[in-house]
């Protein structure tokens, strides 16, 4: 039994030797690649820094030039549109400056973008077969508010690729304002919370008087659309939609019910109190908590007995919310009044609520 370890044919030795050579070769190639990547990155960074400096000076000349000088400046820019790398840095710098500008200066930058035919590049990108390139194109076009591409962008708002779809939705809203929210009518995909926040952030800068009718959207089959519209109502205080909101209190989706109650509270809609009081006992705990919170927000003293009633059974979450609402309605004094009727556990909650208002 001599030399037992890994007995095998000679070919096994050859296989292992080959594997070693492969591993070592790959390792060397990978190390070289790492150096190369680093070298190229550093070189490009240097080149980019130089170009950015150059462009900033050119932009400064361009933006503060008269009509004759403008042409000369444009010629200078034009010389950088031949090389791919130079052009990409030019675009980057242009968008960075444009981002912080409004009014005439922003218009002048847009004019440069069009005159240098950079807009055609963006359109080409939008039509690319790669989704990430498409997004770059869409973003460039929407940042510059290029209106004649909205039909193409609108088609992409229903694209199966969710990242592309989201970008197209945002772009459309950026270019067309509230009008673009039409895409919500036909949206079958879920509108993520993230996307809702981005859209809200974009539309909250628009003039609320131009808000399109939202009633139909509140009856959407797509629950995420309803949730988004509820946020819009909250941001723009759309009290005129009161009746539609009250209807939503019977919606099958609990999340929609909860958000509706929050909005009703924010808009101080008194009519909701009777309905909610009626619905209270058949509601889930999460909904009940929001109803109690709403009573505090609307602060009608008539509801104090109803709230006090809810303190008869000890439940941490319910009791603490009831005490908060009682405080919102009648102030600290009201809490002091009911204190003797509370159990020792509830008195601890009361101290907590009193502390919150300090």
């Amino acid at each position: 039994m001599n030399q037992l370890i890994l007995i095998g044919p000679t070919s096994f030795l050859t296989i292992i030797s080959t594997i070693i050579i492969v591993f070592i070769t790959i390792s060397i190639l990978v190390f070289i690649a790492a150096f190369r990547v680093r070298y190229r990155r550093e070189r490009n960074q240097l080149k980019e820094n130089e170009l950015v400096q150059k462009f900033q000076a050119l932009f400064s000349d361009f933006l503060f030039s008269n009509e004759d000088e403008e042409l000369i400046s444009m010629k200078k820019f034009e010389s950088f549109t031949k090389n791919k790398f130079d052009k990409s840095i030019l675009l980057k710098t242009l968008f960075k400056i444009h981002e912080d500008m409004t009014g005439d200066i922003a218009d002048k930058l847009k004019m440069l973008y069009v005159e240098l035919e950079l807009v055609n590049d963006s359109i080409k990108k939008m039509k690319s077969s790669k989704w990430n390139v498409q997004i770059t194109g869409i973003r460039e076009l929407s940042d510059m508010k290029i209106k004649n591409v909205t039909n193409e962008i609108a088609l992409l708002t229903l694209h199966p690729n969710k990242i592309l779809r989201r970008e197209a939705q945002l772009a459309l809203v950026k270019i067309e304002g509230f009008k673009a929210l039409n895409f919500l009518n036909t949206l079958t995909y879920h509108l993520s919370e993230w996307q809702q926040l981005l859209l809200l952030e974009t539309i909250q800068h628009f003039n609320g008087n131009q808000m399109p009718p939202l009633e139909i959207l509140l009856r959407s089959e797509n629950d995420s659309v309803i949730l988004f519209v509820l946020k819009i109502i909250r941001v723009f205080n759309l009290i005129s939609l009161k009746d539609n909101l009250l209807q939503l209190l019977n919606h099958r989706n609990e999340k929609i019910k909860i958000e509706t109650i929050v909005v009703l509270g924010d808009l101080q809609i008194n009519d909701s109190l009777t309905i909610l009081k009626r619905n209270y006992f058949k509601s889930t705990k999460a909904v009940k908590l929001k109803i109690i919170e709403l009573f505090g927000k609307i602060a009608d003293t008539k509801n104090s007995p109803f709230l006090a009633e809810q303190l008869k059974i000890y439940d941490y979450e319910t009791n603490i919310q009831v005490l908060r609402s009682i405080k919102d309605i009648g102030g600290k004094q009201k809490l002091e009044e009911i204190k003797p009727n509370l159990t020792s556990k509830q008195q601890i909650l009361l101290l907590h609520v009193l502390e919150e208002s300090k």
């Binding site: 039994m1 591993f23 990978v30 990547v37 680093r38 919370e193 981005l198 952030e201 941490y316």
Partner: protein, 478 residues
Amino acid sequence: MFFKNELILNFLSNGILLYGAILALSYIILSVISAIETNHYLKKNSFVNYTKILASPFAPTISIIAPAYNESLTIIENVRSLLSIQYVNYEVLLINDGSTDDSLGKLIEAYALTKVNYSFNKKLPTKKVRAVYRSTIPAFKRLLVIDKENGGKADALNLGLNISDNNLVACIDVDCILEPDALLKMVKPFLENENEEKVIAAGGVIRVANSCVIKDGKLVEVKLPKKFLAKSQVLEYMRSFLLGRMAWSKLNGLLLVSGALGLFDRKTMIAAGGYNKIVGEDLELVTRIRKYMDEKGEKYKVVYIPDPLCWTEVPENYKILGNQRNRWTRGLIETLIIHKNIFFNSSYGILGVISYPYWFFYEWLAPIVEFIAIVYFIFLIVFNLVNWDYFILLTTAVYAFAVMFSALSILSEELTYHQYSKKGVLFKLIIIVLLEPLVFHPYVMWSSVKGNFNFVFNRKKKDWGEMTRTGFKGEVIP
């Protein structure tokens, strides 16, 4: 007799060889999936403007739960760092876990804290709360300090879960340096989910902070550590985070969200029973919340974010490193035992069929198999049974694979986040790549074997229960 011995030895030789080959293959498969997924992530997130969320009042509120024990030296800076995170709606719940130093006194003084009446719903059992403090200075209104009796990190985290009112909680090590945009990046998967899968946890990349320049609780300059052990851990973390976790995230099989930083769905955590008071509470928690969701039949995801989000100091001497790895091994064994019914249980899906078996066969068993192989080799030398040609070739193959794999992690780092931008760093890393399999890895393997031994023969060893820090700040499982 001779025949029998030969059979046993052949079985051992071929078994070890086969095990090693499958392990290497699994590493390659995982790293390929990781590379593809990271590339997709980078493409996808290159368009994201996080500042838009930063300004939104609709961004969900997050409770940061930071347990602290005897962190007096750095606690003021650590809290300052937490209070300067880029996020709109968040609170910091600092849990002082019965520190015996002057941590609490320093906090009271620095942040003008005053005792407040506070009640909370005790959903998870924890040690007693001594007092709750809030700052009298409006600028620190996000901060709530809870002083409790010592019960260990898991107990402190459970108290934070009880106190928080928010759906999302970030559980962190107080002495970790968070990237300012860490919460923004971590909250995104919870908000962008478009299908039925609920995101229950998100973890991020942990990086090595040794030798980095940190000012006012913020990382201002990334440097490669000076000491060999810390440098080896830089490489180890790169391999683990860049070439492993992303693949597990893609497969939805991620079992570990590092205790240094994780964002969780609080309701799910509480429903699953919160943190278990064992050594590896982070691994056990994720396993349990996944198991809970599987048992409920709800679709879920545990997400991993490849961006560097958190920096921590790692051990720089062998004793502390050994203790750390010993603890991790014991924590792993405990988790595997607690959840043994998952093993190859198809009703737990990926968790039962892939994740758990992988942790069993490769995270737990690998050091043991390696140790057995070394003992076996010594036996063969003693009995003059070694075929040296085979031995040299096989050892070289294993070494070459280790070098190749580390080289790939360096390339991946260069192609993605390139955190170490100083000149000459690549050369230093290559030296570590060549030395690490010979020095660092055997020691880590030996510490794991000792962890197994301690688990079996010294089960009372509980050096984490009191959250004792042993000279370096923070530790995390890569």
